[in-house]
C-alpha cells in the first residue's frame, strides 16, 4: 500500500516538474519576444529602404519616386512590422508577470504596465498599415503618396506616450523592490526612466521639416532608435535572469 502511495506521489511530483518547465518555457518565449519584436521592427526599415529615413523636406515627387522603386520592399517590410506588434504584447505580459513577483508591489503598477504596453502595441500596427496603403497603389497622385508617407512616419515616430506610462511603471516596480539582491538591478529601473525621456523630443517634430528635430533628425529618430534597441536587449536579458531566479526559487 505504502509503496503504491509513494509511487503516485512521485508521479505527481514528476507531473508538477514538467508543468513548471512548461510555465518557465512560456515565460522565456515571451522574454525572447522582445528581441524578436525589435529585430522585425528595424528589419522592416531596412527592407523598405528607410535607412536613413526619408526626410520630411522631400517634395511630393521625390517621395512618390521612393515608393515606386521600393514597392515590394515596403510591402514585405511592413508585413514584418505588423507581426512585431504581436511579440510586443507577449513581451509586455512577461514584464507584468515578473513585476508581480516583487513583494509589496501594488497591483495598480502591474496593471498600468499591462494597459500601457497593450496601448503601445497599436503604435506598431498603425504606421505599418499606413505604409502598406501608401505602397499598395504607388501610382496614386504624388500628393496622396506624400500624405500617406506623412501619416505613417508621424504615427511611427511621435507616440512615445504609452511607452512612458509603461516604462515609468516598470521603473517604479524595480526601484521599490526592498530585497538584496532585487529581482531587477537598479540600473534597469533608471534605464526605464531615461529611455522614454529620450524619446520625448519627438513632440517637437510637427514644427520642423529639417534639422535634428525633424522626424528624420538626430533627436527624433537616431538617438531614440539606438536607445530603443538597447532597451529591448537589456530588458530581454534581465527578464531571462529573473525567470531563471523564479525557477531556482520554486
Amino acid at each position: 500500500m505504502s509503496g503504491q502511495a509513494g509511487k503516485s506521489e512521485l508521479m505527481n511530483q514528476n507531473h508538477q516538474q514538467a508543468s513548471l518547465k512548461g510555465q518557465m518555457a512560456f515565460q522565456r518565449v515571451c522574454a525572447w519576444s522582445g528581441v524578436i519584436c525589435v529585430t522585425l521592427f528595424f528589419g522592416a526599415f531596412v527592407l523598405a529602404g528607410f535607412v536613413p529615413p526619408l526626410s520630411p523636406s522631400l517634395d511630393a515627387g521625390e517621395v512618390s519616386a521612393h515608393y515606386l522603386s521600393h514597392t515590394t520592399g515596403i510591402r514585405v517590410g511592413m508585413g514584418l512590422m505588423l507581426i512585431s506588434s504581436a511579440f510586443y504584447a507577449m513581451f509586455t505580459a512577461v514584464m507584468s508577470g515578473q513585476m508581480r513577483r516583487i513583494p509589496g508591489l501594488s497591483p495598480t503598477v502591474v496593471y498600468t504596465q499591462l494597459a500601457a504596453g497593450a496601448f503601445a502595441c497599436v503604435t506598431f500596427l498603425l504606421p505599418a498599415i499606413f505604409f502598406i496603403v501608401a505602397s499598395f497603389r504607388p501610382e496614386r497622385s504624388p500628393e496622396l503618396v506624400q500624405l500617406m508617407n506623412d501619416l505613417a512616419w508621424i504615427m511611427m515616430v511621435i507616440p512615445w506616450m504609452p511607452f512612458m506610462a509603461q516604462n515609468f511603471s516598470f521603473a517604479f516596480a524595480i526601484l521599490s523592490d526592498p530585497r538584496t539582491p532585487p529581482l531587477f538591478p537598479r540600473w534597469v529601473g533608471f534605464l526605464n526612466i531615461w529611455a522614454p525621456i529620450s524619446f520625448s523630443p519627438a513632440i517637437l517634430l510637427p514644427f520642423f521639416k529639417t534639422g535634428p528635430f525633424a522626424w528624420s533628425g538626430l533627436f527624433v529618430i537616431w538617438i531614440p532608435a539606438f536607445i530603443f534597441i538597447f532597451w529591448f536587449a537589456a530588458i530581454t536579458r534581465m527578464l531571462m535572469k529573473a525567470i531563471d531566479r523564479e525557477e531556482r526559487e520554486t
Binding site: 495598480t108 496593471y111 494597459a115 500601457a116 497593450a118 496601448f119 508621424i154 506616450m161 521599490s176 510637427p206
Partner: protein, 233 residues
C-alpha cells in the same frame, strides 16, 4: 511608497489626462469645432491660419493619452475590492480602457498631419479634417463598454460599506448612453447629430469631462475609506 499614495497619484493622472485633452482642443482653436458643412476653402484657410496652434494643441492631446493607463489600472484595482465582482469585469474594464486610450492619440495624429503641410492640395486637407474629426468623435464603443462594466461591477456590491455608491453605477450607464449619438455622425453634415452638433460634440464632450471629474472624486473617496478600514483593523 505607500500603496494608497500611489493610488492617489493614479487619480491625479486621470485629472492630467482630461486637462491636457481639453486644453489640446482649446489651443487648436477647436472650441467651437469647425462644422462639417464648411466649404473646402474655409477649411484650408483655417488650417493655414491655425497651423501652429493645431500642432501644439494636438501634441498636448497625444500627451493626454499617456495619463490614461494609470487611471484605468486604478479603476480595475478598486473594482477588485468589490466583494463578489467577477475578475472578468476587472479585466474587461482594463482592456476596454486600454482600447479607449488609443483614441486619445489617433485623432490627434491626423490633425497633426493636416497642420504639418497646410499648403497641400485643398482636397487633401479637407479629407484630413474629416478624418481627424471622425476618428476623434466617433469611437464611442470602447468607452461605452468600459462604463457599462464599471456600472455592472458597482451594482454587484451588496456590502454595507460599498466601495462605490450605487448611484455611481447609474451615472456610468448614463455617460455610456451620452456617447451613443456619436454613432450617427456619418449621416449628418449639419444639425445636432453632425460632429460639431449638440448631441455629438457638446453633450458627449460634457459627459466625458463630467465622467473624469466624478470618477476622480469617487476614487479619492474609495481610497480614503480603504485607508480608514485598514487603520481600523
Amino acid at each position: 511608497m505607500n500603496p494608497r499614495s500611489l493610488e492617489r497619484w493614479c487619480v491625479w493622472s486621470g485629472v492630467a489626462a482630461i486637462t491636457c485633452f481639453t486644453f489640446g482642443f482649446v489651443f487648436a482653436g477647436f472650441i467651437p469645432p469647425p462644422s462639417p458643412s464648411w466649404s473646402i476653402e474655409r477649411v484650408v484657410a483655417y488650417y493655414q491660419q491655425h497651423a501652429t496652434g493645431i500642432r501644439a494643441g494636438m501634441v498636448l492631446m497625444m500627451i493626454s493619452g499617456m495619463f490614461v493607463p494609470p487611471l484605468v489600472a486604478l479603476i480595475s484595482v478598486q473594482m477588485r475590492r468589490i466583494p463578489g465582482a467577477h475578475p472578468i469585469l476587472v479585466y474587461a474594464q482594463l482592456s476596454a480602457g486600454t482600447l479607449g486610450a488609443v483614441f486619445f492619440i489617433t485623432g490627434a495624429l491626423v490633425f497633426i498631419v493636416a497642420a504639418y503641410r497646410p499648403d497641400r492640395p485643398a482636397d487633401i486637407t479637407y479629407m484630413l479634417n474629416d478624418m481627424g474629426w471622425i476618428v476623434t468623435v466617433i469611437p464611442w464603443s470602447p468607452a461605452f463598454m468600459q462604463n457599462v462594466i464599471i456600472g455592472a461591477a458597482i451594482l454587484t456590491d451588496k456590502s454595507a460599506q460599498p466601495v462605490f455608491p450605487r448611484w455611481l453605477a447609474y451615472f456610468n450607464f448614463w455617460v455610456a448612453i451620452g456617447f451613443l449619438p456619436g454613432g450617427l455622425l456619418p449621416f449628418f453634415k449639419a444639425g445636432p447629430f453632425a460632429w460639431s452638433g449638440a448631441f455629438v460634440f457638446w453633450l458627449a464632450g460634457s459627459v466625458f469631462i463630467a465622467w473624469f471629474i466624478v470618477m476622480t472624486v469617487m476614487l479619492l473617496g474609495a481610497i480614503r475609506r480603504q485607508e480608514r478600514e485598514s487603520a481600523a483593523t
